[in-house]
Structure formats: structure tokens, C-alpha cells
Symmetry: C2
């Protein structure tokens, strides 16, 4: 299980990415994230985050009836949301590169100690 703290500041971008693929709703987004390997993301996490993104103008929603259950709130990216998605991944890349560089050095050091 990925620690909750490690998801902070990453989940919002990932949700933007999921919505960017195609229109979808909260319940399904949680399932998708699980499918991608993020682990079970609580509904108490997903829904507040979606509302935050909606209020921020990054996504917009339409309610639609479902054949099996209550109506769904389908989200799609706004132009602003697409821009935010790009910015998010640029930042993620920066973090990822830094972590990777650090990890390389750490591994080298472990080898020295082991051998």
C-alpha cells in the first residue's frame, strides 16, 4: 500500500489524467486508480478532490442517469484543466528525475557496502 502522504499533490494530477482519457465519474475514477496500481483510494478522498477541481474550474460535470444505481456525475476537462494537467506532469517529471538521480547514487553506495 502506498502511504497516504506520498499521494499528496499527486492524486489531483492523476485524477485529471484519468478524466482526460474520457468522461467519467467519481466512483469509476476510484476503481480506475486502483486498476493502475495506486491502491484503494477512499471515496472520502475522491469526492472532495473532484469538488475542489470543479470549483477551481479545471473540470466540469454533467449528471446522467444510470441503469444500475443512482445517477452519475460525469466529469470532463476544461481548457484550464488540460493546461493544469500538462503543468502537473512537468512538475512530476522534475520530481521523478531528481528522485531517480538520488536513487542511483544510493544504490551505488549500497553496492559498496555490500561487496
Amino acid at each position: 500500500m502506498i502511504p497516504t502522504q506520498m499521494l499528496k499533490g499527486v492524486l489531483d494530477g492523476c485524477i485529471l489524467a484519468v478524466i482526460g482519457r474520457r468522461e467519467t465519474y467519481g466512483y469509476e475514477i476510484a476503481e480506475m486508480l486502483r486498476g493502475y496500481g495506486f491502491g484503494r483510494i477512499a471515496e472520502g478522498t475522491v469526492y472532495p478532490l473532484l469538488l475542489r477541481l470543479e470549483r477551481g474550474g479545471l473540470i466540469e460535470a454533467t449528471y446522467r442517469d444510470s441503469a444500475a444505481g443512482p445517477r452519475r456525475k460525469y466529469y470532463r476537462l476544461t481548457a484550464q484543466g488540460q493546461e493544469a494537467l500538462r503543468a502537473f506532469w512537468a512538475h512530476y517529471r522534475a520530481l521523478s528525475s531528481a528522485a531517480e538521480a538520488l536513487w542511483q547514487d544510493t544504490e551505488g553506495k549500497s553496492d559498496e557496502q555490500t561487496h
Copy 2:
């Protein structure tokens, strides 16, 4: 600049990694992280985090005089800290893989929309 929220839950592991390379102190750790590309990590971030790791038994410290400035507090990993470092990277790998998989799909989708 990497958003501060994105650093949450990552910084502690990165600091463990830096200390794992060799004994070092707070001020230098902040400089190293900057060198790796994490951006400027504030002192108000580094010192509380070091104290937290120390209290948690993941690192231990020795004060040493410096030739140019006040004394330094040198940290090194404990056995528990080395274990925590391994666990951290395992979790980071999981997050990284999930994000990468999601990003791949997103990129494909962008292509479709573009072409």
C-alpha cells in the same frame, strides 16, 4: 519549482537516502537536495524532518565542530533507518509505476485528440 504538496511523503525518504550515502548534516542535506533537482528545500522543512526521523529512531546524530561556522550535527542511518529506506523506495516504485502507466494512456489519448 516542484509544488510543496508533491514533496510530501517523498522528502523524508530522500533525506534518508542522502544520509545513507554518507554522514552529513542538515545544512548540507538541503544543498544536496537542491543539487539533485528538488529545488530549494527550506530550512524550516529540513530541521523538523531530521528531528522527526531522529525521534523515530531512523537516524542518529553526533555534534562536531566546524572550521567555518557553528558546530554541525552529523546524522547517520540506524539499522531501522536502512530498513525504512528500503521500504520507502519500494513504495515509491509502486507509485512511480502506477503514474507511469497512467501517463502512457493519457499521452495516447492526447495523440488521438491532436491528430
